[in-house]
């Protein structure tokens, strides 16, 4: 009990501060007087009595100290003392503090921003309970080395025969027009097979999911709503059993999902997948599939089961399944492109390097500061401070700096993150959020401590072991020289790291430039794109859809400022893309699974002219193509022409969508057009075949409009034209084609920008490091330089001495950096296009840049050195 009371009293006293001291003073005073009285009473003189009394009592200060130790919390108090002292010291040297804080903010802030992204990409779990066991399942064309979605009959077989999954489900993203009680809304949703919710391990918050048998050919008109949609349209009231209109069809609501569930990607409602087996035969590969592994099963076992099933199907249906495999991979890999996460991890490494440079710089600054405080350390050591106490004091300083830097860095990192996301928001899946969570907080703390230790430990250890003798005599040249070597090493390290980052920048920039030089195959300037999906309910028949575009396109083309207008089913670099197998007339029958599978585009006449795609042979589509009664025609691209008809002109030849014996019409090739980079500037060019709209009027088309000049201002009038033809059509955002092309290279552009920022930061920091080192050494050697000048040295010699030191360090850093860069840039190889990872031009260029900057950084201290007046230098200490 007593001990507890004591603790409470100690805490209270620690908080109370210095007030108790005066009471003790009075007490000791009265004690002293009473003792003195006693001695006087024994016959001593008052003076002698007083002296004896003081001896008997003991030193007042020592008594006070022991009482203080008994009274408060001595350890905490000494720590508080250290912190306050460190803060005062930092305040007194605002230049140093500002520089250090600036560097730390950059280093820590950049690290935090990138880590938040990596956290969202890689470390944060998927928002599903089963997340570790979810796999993306897909089919595989073995001979083309290509993954494809599932065909419906194959899926049914897999679902029936598999033994390794809890369940497997298909999903198909679509947009729906929902008319509930509120405004009709166009929402993203998905048609799914009944097992989807079970696969993801999510149960509806209200009502039920889908029951077996509700999908496929006998799909029932039911729908499950997402939480957000439910709140928005129905205000959160009970809806199970009510009817809504979905794409003009009445559906019954059977359930509501819990909040924050939106698989796949933004889906707000789910309806059973309605599939006619005749429309989706075994050789039509359309659907994404997801499955959940059984608890006792791992991915390898699942894969072998799937291989077995694929083997069975290949035997039972050699055409088309002969070379078709079934594969699985973790779902996360599906949701996050592999090269993207790899790139960000590389970026983290780069940012880590920058932080290292910052630490090195900081260590250098602290070292030189420590030299100035030799005196102080020596006196404290002489007064009895142990080495541990001194080290602790200096570490507290570093910790204070690092914490302040971390705080600022967090703020800066948040701002940088916003900027980063503004760069490419559309490409990140919506479920990835980059807010700061526990992981990020832990990361910041670890980073702060690590920075403190790395930057502050060596200076602290060195400073706490001062040479008492030399220190008190105020020379300390020997200590300086040692520190100079260490600091020199730090500068070399900084230079090396800066070089590596600069090389990364250089390579990435060149990669972007070479990408942008790639001919996309279209003339993207002045073209505006706009999606116009036609809902099935309003446009049930193909003729309705043809009529729509027949009405719309001339209207748009007639608008002021518009040169041409057309429509396509798959916009270059955007899609969506479908591939279909076809047979070439007269060609030998291909092996099963090896038929030509070009990407099929459906375009209105005038499309090629609108997009600026050039004609190579034959003719382009005209107004007659696709009309009823006219023979079916097609246009192919150069690549397909080369592949399909290697030594002949395809114009006039025929193809068929199916086997030669099928009862479908032959299609005649009438023209060959130039290649278009449909899948992006850096991607492969595939076989393309274009059909006129009349032959296959698909509902989901994209309007492309070429303006006489910039087309974006035409958007409102284009929308007006659309509404004039069909006022009920929901409209999407109009996007200039040039933006689409630019977006397709957003990755390399983003990374080259980021690396550029870090490269510049690293260069500046390294330059500061060199500058600081040389400036400091000039100051330290003022006397020596003054002596040299007085003895007749040329000022140019002095200048050469200083610059020589700096450049030697830079050269050493360069050499190390070059050696380190070769393996480092290999890590970037996946992101580079058109330039090798060891491109000599880039290496040479960046090396020169580094040397030039180092030269500039040396120039100022060198100039100062030459300006030293020998008289004043020799006189003042």
């Amino acid at each position: 009990m007593g001990k507890l009371r004591e603790l409470v009293a100690r805490i209270r006293n620690a908080a109370a501060g210095r007030r108790m001291d005066t009471t003790l003073d009075d007490e000791l005073q009265s004690h002293l007087e009473m003792l003195t009285d006693e001695y006087v009473g024994c016959g001593m003189t008052p003076g002698a009595a007083r002296r004896a009394a003081r001896l008997r009592l003991g030193g007042a200060d020592q008594i006070k100290e022991t009482v203080r130790d008994a009274r408060g919390l001595p350890r905490l108090e000494s720590l508080t003392q250290d912190v306050r002292y460190a803060a005062r010291l930092l305040r007194r040297t605002p230049g140093f503090t500002a520089a250090a804080l600036a560097m730390l903010t950059i280093g820590i802030g950049a690290n935090v921003a990138i880590f938040a992204v990596v956290n969202g990409l890689l470390l944060r779990p998927l928002p599903y309970p089963n997340q570790d066991r979810l796999v993306d399942v897909y089919q595989w064309f073995a001979d083309r080395d290509m993954g494809v979605p599932f065909s419906f009959p194959d899926f049914l077989d897999v679902r029936a025969r598999q033994e390794v999954f809890e369940d497997v489900a298909l999903y198909w993203r679509e947009s729906f027009t929902l008319a509930g009680t509120g405004e009709p809304e166009r929402v993203a949703g998905a048609s799914v097979t009944t097992g989807l919710f079970r696969v993801l391990g999510v149960t509806p918050a209200a009502g039920r999911g889908f029951r077996e048998g509700e999908d496929g050919p006998s799909a029932v008109p039911v729908v499950v709503l997402g939480h957000g949609l439910w709140q928005r349209q129905f205000g959160g009231e009970a809806v199970v059993g009510r009817t809504v209109t979905l794409n003009d069809r009445p559906m019954t609501i059977v359930g509501v999902m819990p909040p924050a569930f939106d698989f796949p990607g933004d889906a707000q409602l789910w309806t059973p997948l309605a599939v006619e087996t005749t429309e989706y035969p075994r050789d039509r590969y359309s659907f994404a599939a997801v499955a959940a592994l059984k608890p006792s099963v791992n991915l390898t076992t699942a894969r072998s089961n799937l291989d077995a099933i694929a083997g069975q199907l290949a035997q039972e249906y050699p055409d088309p399944n002969a070379n078709v495999g079934i594969r699985a991979r973790p779902l996360r890999d599906e949701l996050v492109p592999g090269n993207l996460s790899r790139a960000f991890v590389t970026l983290m490494a780069a940012v880590g390097l920058v932080l290292l440079i910052v630490c090195a710089n900081l260590a250098g600054l602290l070292l030189s500061r420590a030299a100035a405080r030799d005196q102080e350390m020596v006196v404290r050591a002489a007064l009895g401070a142990g080495r541990g106490r001194l080290v602790r004091q200096l570490l507290v300083e570093s910790l204070l700096l690092a914490s302040a830097g971390a705080g600022l860095g967090l703020a800066a990192g948040g701002a940088a993150l916003d900027m980063l996301l503004a760069f490419a928001p559309a490409t990140f899946p919506p479920w990835m959020s980059f807010g700061f969570d526990a992981n990020v907080a832990t990361f910041v703390v670890v980073l702060t401590v690590a920075t403190t230790v790395v930057a502050g430990l060596v200076p602290a250890l060195r400073a706490s072991r001062p040479d008492l003798h030399a220190g008190l005599k105020e020379t300390g040249t020997r200590v300086t020289f040692e520190r100079g070597r260490l600091r020199g090493a730090l500068v070399v390290g900084q230079m090396a790291l800066a070089l590596v980052l600069l090389l990364a920048t250089g390579l990435m920039t060149r990669s972007v430039l070479s990408l942008l030089e790639v001919d996309p195959g279209i003339r993207a300037e002045d073209v505006l794109t706009l999606r116009v999906p036609l809902p099935a309910a309003a446009y049930p028949r193909p003729t309705d859809r043809v009529a729509f575009f027949d009405a719309l396109l001339p209207r748009v083309a007639a608008l002021a400022g518009v040169e041409r207008a057309a429509a396509t089913s798959s916009l270059p670099m955007v899609g969506p893309f479908s591939s279909l197998a076809l047979s070439i007339e007269g060609a030998p029958p291909p092996a099963p699974g090896r038929q030509p599978m070009p990407v099929r585009h459906v375009v209105t006449p005038g499309y090629f002219e609108t997009m600026g795609i050039r004609l190579v042979a034959g003719r382009l589509f005209d107004a007659r193509d696709g009309r009823p009664g006219v023979a079916e025609v097609a246009v192919v691209n150069e690549t397909f022409a080369r592949h399909g008809w290697p030594d002949a002109d395809p114009v006039g030849r025929r193809v068929k969508f199916g086997d030669p014996g099928d009862d479908v019409p032959w299609v005649t090739i009438v023209g060959v057009v130039g290649d278009v980079r449909q899948f992006g500037l850096g991607a492969q060019i595939d076989d393309d075949i274009f059909l006129p709209y009349g032959q296959l009027p698909l509902p989901a088309m994209t309007l492309v409009v070429r303006g006489a000049t910039d087309a974006l201002p035409l958007a409102p009038s284009i929308r007006g034209a659309i509404r004039a033809v069909d006022p009920a059509l929901a409209l999407f955002q109009a996007l200039p084609m040039a933006d689409v092309v630019a977006r397709s290279v957003w990755q390399p552009r983003l990374f080259s920008w980021l690396f550029g920022v870090f490269g510049v930061a690293a260069l500046v920091l390294a330059a500061i490091g060199v500058y600081a080192l040389l400036a400091y050494s000039v100051v330290q050697r003022t006397r020596e330089i003054g002596l040299r000048l007085a003895l007749g040295a040329d000022r140019r010699e002095v200048r050469r001495m200083v610059i020589g030191r700096g450049m030697r360090l830079a050269a050493a850093g360069l050499a190390i950096g070059m050696a380190a860069a070769v393996p480092a840039t290999r890590a970037l190889e996946a992101l580079l296009v058109g330039v090798s990872a060891t491109d000599p031009l880039t290496f040479a260029g960046m090396a020169l840049l580094l040397l030039a900057v180092a030269w500039v950084a040396c120039a100022l201290p060198a100039r100062r050195a030459t300006r030293i007046d020998p008289m004043t230098a020799l006189r003042c200490e």
């Binding site: 007593g2 001990k3 009371r5 004591e6 009293a9 100690r10 006293n13 009471t23 003790l24 009075d26 007490e27 000791l28 009265s30 004690h31 007087e33 009473m34 003792l35 009285d37 008997r56 009592l57 003991g58 030193g59 007042a60 020592q62 008594i63 022991t66 009482v67 130790d69 008994a70 009274r71 009895g384 142990g386």
Partner: protein
């Protein structure tokens, strides 16, 4: 705790010092286990009633027949400790020769503590005496 704190530290009378800070400013007359000073203070206060620091120190010297000639200042950390633990209480007052001084008095808890410690001390002394005699 208060009395038999045989933790292997070398202690100067009444002052609980860490081993390293041995640049001791108190003169060392006798090495006595820590806590005995506390016991002496409590005993003194029980016998003499409320007393100031000087008086307590003087009395301790007297009783021990000047065998313990200590720096009187060592009493103060002990008094602080005892007061923090609630076994004594202090009040400013006037001394015999009209000097203003701080008087300490035993509290009820302190009295109980004193009884307990006295019993323990007597017992240990008995046991030690037996050892010393037999061997």
């Amino acid at each position: 705790m208060l009395t038999f704190n045989m933790r292997g530290r070398t202690l100067v009378l009444g002052v609980y010092m860490k081993p390293r800070e041995r640049s001791a400013r108190m003169s060392i007359r006798t090495d006595v286990l820590q806590g005995t000073l506390d016991l002496m203070v409590l005993r003194t206060l029980e016998a003499l009633g409320p007393l100031h620091g000087f008086g307590i120190a003087r009395r301790i010297e007297q009783i021990s027949d000047d065998a313990l000639r200590l720096n009187q200042g060592t009493i103060y950390p002990a008094l602080t400790r005892l007061e923090q633990r609630g076994w004594i209480a202090s009040k400013w007052g006037i001394s015999d020769n009209n000097r203003r001084a701080r008087f300490y008095a035993l509290t009820r808890a302190g009295r109980r503590r004193l009884d307990a410690e006295t019993k323990d001390w007597k017992r240990v002394a008995e046991i030690m005496a037996r050892f010393v005699e037999t061997s």
